[in-house]
Symmetry: C2
Subunit: 334 residues, 2 copies
DNA sequence: AATCTTTGTGCAAACGTTTGCGCAATTATT
DNA sequence: AATAATTGCGCAAACGTTTGCACAAAGATT
C-alpha cells in the first residue's frame, strides 16, 4: 500500500491541502513548510498517484500512440520524433501495438479513450475510415500518420515518392516496372500506386495490371510477390516495392532463383531504414523525414487539444539512389 | 466532456450504483434493467473512465513495459510474447522507450509507479543495479529481461550462447577471435563476454584484451569497432558481435575496406533478427526463444503480482549457422 | 399464515488527489 | 492608528467509479 498525501499530512501535522500545495510548489506556501514537507515526502517514499490526480484535474497530460508493427524500425523512428516533441511539451506518451489488425487497432483506440488520454496518434492505421465514423463515439483528438484522406493527418507525399521512383527507373531505360503493394487492403487507397500510375502515364507507358502484385509490407510478402512476378513472361526489369522490408524479401527471392540485383533486376524500396543502407546491394529507396513527421504529428495533436485549427500536412520524400538499381539491360525478348 | 455513469443514471431514473452494476453484469440486477441500461449507455456514447475505476479498485490490470530501443526489432519480438501472454490474462500493456538512457529508464519506471500499474517489465535495462536499491522506493513487482543478476528475471543464457559461438569458430580453425561488446557499460557484466572467455580457456587459447572492443549495440558501433579491429596486427580472423545490428555494421566496414565475408573474416551475430537471414551473406547468429522469453516474463510478473514465489529463469539459445562464417584461411602471418 | 430466502435496487462511503473559498495573522499603506 | 493588502494555511467539495450494507418486495418454505 503506497503512502498517500494524507499519511504525510498526518505525520507533518498539517492538512492534506497544504501537503499537496507544498509538493506542487504553490506560491502561497512558506518556503519553510515546503522544504520540510518535500523532505518528509521523500523520506517516506511518497510517489504521487497520477490516477487520482488525473481524475480531479480531468486531464492526463498523456497522449496515446497506436503502432501497426513493432518489428518494423520505420515506426520506431517515427516514435523518436513523437517522443522528442512530447517531452518538450511535458507530455507523457503511452504506446501500444496492434499488429496490423484493424480490430485490435480500434480496441486500442477505445482503450486510450477509457484511459482518458488527451489525444491519440495512430501510426499505420488499418482502419482509417472508422475515424470519420460518428458512431464510434471518438470524443478526443486523433491524428493519423500517412493517411492523407483523414482530416487530421500528417503524411509524407507517397504519391510524389512513387512518381520519383518511376521517373528515375524510366530514366534508366526501364519500361516494364512492377509494383508490389503493402497488402490487398492498402491497394485501393495506395498513394504510391497512384503515383506509379501517374508517372507511367506521363511517360506514355501503358499500365499493365499484371505488374502490380500484393505483398504485405513484410519480408515474406516480398518473397511471394517476387516469385509471382518471375512467373510472368516477360518478367519486369525493375521492381518498385511498398517498403524496404518488402524489397529485402524481393532481392532474396530473386537471388535464390539465380538472378542478380541490380544486373538482372533493379529493385527500389521505400522508407530508407538504416539497415538497408548497409544491405548488399545497398538499397535504392525513398527517404522520408520521419523525425519531422513524428514531431509534426505531435504538434498537430497538441493544437487539436488546445482547440486550434489544423489542416492536413504533407511532407516531401527524397529519392536515395544506391546500388540496387542500374540501367535496364537489353530486353531479353527482342 | 464525456458522459458519466451519473448522466446515464439520471436519464434512466435509477441510481448510479445500479448503472454501474448493470454495465458490469452484476448478478443481482434484473436482466430487464441490464439490457435497458446497456443500450442506453451505448446510445449515449458512454465510455467508462479507467482512471476513476482504477482509483477505487486500487488496481489497474495494466503492466508497464520499458524498452531500450524501438528501432531494434529484437525488442519488438519480445513484445509479441508479452502482449500475447498479457492479452490471455486480461492485462493491458503500456509501452515506453528509454532510448538506452539509464536516466530515462528510471524516470520511466518512476512514471509507471505513479500510474499505479500492477507491475513492470524492463527490456534491455541499463540501470540494473537500481532495482536492488532500497532507496528507489520501488514498491511494485519488476521483472528484468536478460539481466540474470537480478532476483526476478528471465534471460536466455548468453553465456552458453557465447560459448557456442566460440566453440563453433574454433572448430572452423579460428584462433584469433574478436569480440565486440554492446557498449562500455555492458562490458563488465556481459555474459556473452564471459562465455567467450570461458570457451577460449577451454580451448587453451590465451585471452587477448586487444581483441575485445566496444560497440554500442547499433550499426554505427559495429562499424567503429570493425575499423578498430582492422588496425590490429595481426587482425582477427573471426568477429563475434554483441548482436545482429552490430554484425551488420561490421560486415559493412569490412567490405568497405575491400575485405570479403566470410572469405577474409568470419562474422557472427546474436539475436537472429528476421532480416539478417536475408542479408548477404546470410548471418550466422544465435537464435533466442524471444516469444517464450516474453511469455515467461509476463508469467513471472503475474506470479509476483499474486505474491507467489518466483525464481530466475534461464532459457537456452541456439546456434544458427548460415553464410557469414567459414573455415579459417591459412594465417597470413605464418 | 408466519417465517425465511431471494431478488432488485438505493445510500453513502471510499479511492487519492486538487482547488475555490474562507479566515486568521502578519505586513504594508495611508 | 486605522485600514488595506498579503501571506499561510485549513475546510470541504469535487472528479467518476465501485461496493458493503440496508431494505423493500416478491417468492419459497414451513
Amino acid at each position: 500500500m503506497p503512502v498517500s498525501i494524507k499519511d504525510i499530512a498526518q505525520k507533518a501535522g498539517v492538512s492534506p491541502s497544504t501537503v499537496s500545495r507544498a509538493l506542487n510548489d504553490h506560491p502561497r506556501i512558506s518556503q519553510e513548510t515546503k522544504t520540510y514537507i518535500q523532505n518528509l515526502a521523500r523520506s517516506m517514499g511518497y510517489i504521487p498517484s497520477t490516477v487520482a490526480r488525473n481524475l480531479v484535474t480531468r486531464r492526463t497530460a498523456t497522449i496515446g500512440v497506436a503502432i501497426a508493427d513493432l518489428t518494423d524500425p520505420y515506426y520506431g523512428r517515427l516514435m523518436l520524433g513523437i517522443d522528442d516533441a512530447a517531452a518538450a511539451h511535458n507530455y507523457q506518451v503511452l504506446l501500444s501495438c496492434f499488429y496490423r489488425d484493424p480490430d485490435r487497432e480500434l480496441a486500442l483506440v477505445h482503450d486510450f479513450h477509457k484511459r482518458r488520454v488527451d489525444g491519440i496518434i495512430v501510426l499505420g492505421s488499418e482502419a482509417e475510415s472508422a475515424y470519420s465514423d460518428p458512431d464510434q463515439n471518438f470524443f478526443m483528438p486523433i491524428v493519423l500518420v500517412n493517411r492523407p484522406g483523414y482530416r487530421c493527418s500528417v503524411s509524407v507525399d507517397r504519391n510524389v515518392g512513387g512518381q520519383m521512383v518511376v521517373d528515375y527507373l524510366v530514366s534508366l531505360g526501364h519500361r516494364r516496372i512492377a509494383f508490389i503493394t503493402g497488402g490487398a487492403r492498402q491497394r485501393i487507397r495506395s498513394r504510391r500506386l497512384a503515383g506509379y500510375r501517374q508517372a507511367l502515364a506521363r511517360h506514355h507507358i501503358p499500365y499493365n495490371p499484371d505488374l502490380v502484385v500484393d505483398g504485405d509490407g513484410e519480408i515474406s510478402g516480398g518473397i511471394r510477390a517476387a516469385n509471382q512476378l518471375l512467373s510472368l513472361s516477360p518478367p519486369p526489369t525493375a521492381v518498385f516495392c511498398f517498403n524496404d522490408m518488402t524489397a529485402i524479401g524481393v532481392i532474396n527471392a530473386l537471388r535464390r532463383q539465380g538472378f542478380r540485383v541490380p544486373d538482372d533486376f533493379s529493385v527500389v524500396g521505400f522508407d530508407d531504414l538504416e539497415m538497408t543502407a548497409y544491405y548488399s546491394p545497398a538499397l535504392t529507396t525513398v527517404r522520408q523525414p520521419t523525425h519531422e513527421v513524428g514531431e509534426r504529428a505531435f504538434d498537430m495533436l497538441s493544437r487539436l487539444i488546445r482547440h486550434q485549427p489544423v489542416e492536413p500536412e504533407m511532407l516531401n520524400p527524397e529519392l536515395v539512389i544506391r546500388a540496387s538499381t542500374t540501367s535496364a539491360a537489353q530486353p531479353l525478348t527482342a
